[in-house]
Subunit: 396 residues, 2 copies
């Protein structure tokens, strides 16, 4: 088999439905396939989880197929109940518009959006906002309540006695309808999207008699299930600075190193196998390999000059167990509130964040004590460490 097709069917892939053989036979036929992935414009930036799907789309595009990035601007206003134990907050149109400007720029790292033959961006509001009640009901008549309730996340909610709002049932159905409108051959998504993708597969078969292949990608997680996440504080955002990105990757667990190479870099499979073996045998120090992973990732997003600087910064800051060489310095009056100065100088994002960090014991005077008083006052020159990687020097 063609090595590009081989990689496409395997690298980072969790599951292919109906089967890899089916997709492979379609790829070997003449003619372009239509492939899409949907992104919810619900966050201010894409994160490295999105990049996993974008990389797979890029593989299809390189083979000459037609690639579509679907922005779920309409469905985002419902909120995908996936993996949420409570109903999601609904976004406004202007929030969504702002987010998706950022996304296109970030996705350009992976996809060619040139006018002729490039990847297309489509918005599901273009068809969904036109759906009238009769069509909605017709669509609903194709699925049973039971099919929906079997969805793992709804099962969980039911068990926990948490209510499912009726409109949440619509998310999978409307996302499925996107497949129908786009008449796609292939959809790619995270492995938490399988249910929604299969609803679309079902609808495409029923409504336009087309067999869609659903590909789910692996999660960036270690064998114990530990994964990158917002609560873990190591969710790499594509808008992170080189330093932040480097530091976050370094905080991933060792078990995430190999998945990290597979899902987030262009390092070839044979090299990943070598890395995996040298990790297992203990020949190489995991920390050194993780530095290589962090650098691969930062080079991709920020180029090698910034990546080198980020590496140096990381080593200076953390490896020597000391404060970084360069720290931002601020002149303040004696008696200034620490919280206010940190906020005004953008070291923290909000007073809420500050209070949380203080509670967790994550704010301290370098060479001194942890700060436990929210109303801590600056009365002499001091350097403050905030969280894991932020520092500020105040001179009075």
């Amino acid at each position: 088999m063609n090595s590009q097709i081989n990689s496409l069917l395997n690298r980072g892939v969790e599951q292919i439905i109906p089967s890899a053989d089916f997709l492979s036979s379609q790829l070997l036929k003449e003619g372009k396939l239509k492939i899409y992935a949907g992104i919810d414009p619900t966050g201010p930036t894409l994160h490295i989880g999105h990049s996993i799907v974008l990389r797979k789309l890029r593989e299809f595009q390189k083979l000459g197929h037609e690639v579509i990035l679907l922005i779920g601007d309409f469905t985002a206003q419902i909120g995908d109940p996936t993996d949420k134990t409570a109903t999601r907050k609904v976004l406004t149109e202007s929030q969504i518009n702002k987010n998706l400007q950022v996304y296109k720029k970030q996705a350009s790292k992976f996809l060619n959006f040139s006018r002729w033959g490039g990847a297309k961006i489509v918005y599901n509001s273009s068809w969904l906002k036109k759906l009238d009640l009769k069509k909605v009901l017709n669509l609903m008549s194709l699925m049973t309540v039971d099919q929906m309730l079997k969805r793992d996340m709804f099962v969980r909610r039911t068990e926990e006695g948490k209510p499912i709002s009726m409109h949440e049932f619509m998310y999978p159905l409307l996302q499925g309808y996107d497949s129908v409108m786009l008449e796609v051959d292939v959809e790619i998504g995270g492995n938490d999207q399988m249910f929604n993708m299969l609803v679309g597969r079902d609808l495409e078969k029923k409504l336009i008699n087309k067999e869609k292949t659903a590909i789910t990608m692996k999660l960036l997680a270690d064998a114990t299930g530990k994964k990158m996440g917002k609560t873990e504080g190591n969710m790499v955002s594509l808008s992170d600075t080189a330093n932040d990105m480097f530091g976050k990757v370094m905080s991933w667990t060792d078990g995430m190193i190999v998945p990290g190479f597979e899902l987030c870099t262009d390092v070839v499979d044979s090299e990943i196998i070598r890395i995996s073996e040298s990790l297992r045998s203990g020949i190489e120090n995991p920390r050194d390999i993780k530095i290589r992973l962090a650098k691969e990732i930062v080079v991709f997003y920020h180029g090698s000059v910034e990546a080198d600087a980020a590496e140096r910064n990381f080593i200076n800051t953390f490896s020597k167990g000391d404060v970084p060489e360069e720290i931002q310095e601020f002149k303040v009056s004696i008696g200034s509130l620490l919280s206010k100065e940190l906020l005004d100088n953008k070291i923290i994002e909000s007073i809420g964040e500050y209070k949380r960090l203080v509670k967790e014991g994550a704010v301290s005077v370098v060479g001194g004590e942890k700060i436990s008083d929210f109303n801590f006052v600056i009365d002499s020159n001091l350097t403050v460490k905030v969280g894991k990687r932020r520092f500020a020097k105040f001179t009075v």
Copy 2:
């Protein structure tokens, strides 16, 4: 309390939510209340079950309140899953239009539809067909899946392992939305409509902060739960001939006599109490009282001349255990197929009906045998009895 209000709150009433007291206090305030009942235009005619609701509307109209008859022309196209164990067949628009011409005429027996101050007829398609997906989702977000699944009929289906189509969940919600659009004070329905009416009560509270009273009417049934129905063959349709109507009422069970007077006639309460007592004590023969009930009903729909004739016909046909005095007579050739002659002369409605009746042993030669051969051939003069009340004389 005003005796009209007393009757309004009690006669034929099964339940009032939130309470009879609440409704009573509203009735005693100045100003008109807005009352509505919905009818699904799914059958070719109204039946006497509808008349129970129409009678209650009439009481409100007589007290000067604003009465609205809502034709569920849009929701009829979804199908109310109430009391259905399977998803209902969807009607076409033209079927619906045809049906509701008939309804208005029939409802005029109860309601004054004069242009000024008369009852209004509205169609829920006028607002529902304009609902776009966003509004639909907003509506759906106000109800949980759990609330829907608790509905008795959905519980039954789930227990029986019969699928509930997603669109069936929409029926109660959209019917509820009718209440919101009409901004009604009171809704009247059959007792199987309580769930749907309460959804509307909920939505009216949430969306326009108005407290709707829901009134359910008793079923025309006896104490054992036996009721009038299509399968029982005694469902009185408002388009029945005087003879058919009379005969059908006479086939109701004795236990339905008192409910029949209460729900389907203008006989005063004190008289119904007297009837009820004389039935219980055995002073009067139930059959004689049932004849009075049948006559009351037939007089209302067909006038007293026709009612007298129907009574005579009934007594001649059935009471004497004999064939009626006047029977339609047809000249046929020897060797004619009985089924074809019955069909051509409109004694039966279809060959299917004929076969069913033959199977049930309900076709016989008067003074002779039951007919068991579908292909029975007429080879001499004979009179045939078909079902309980139909006769035909064939001469060769």
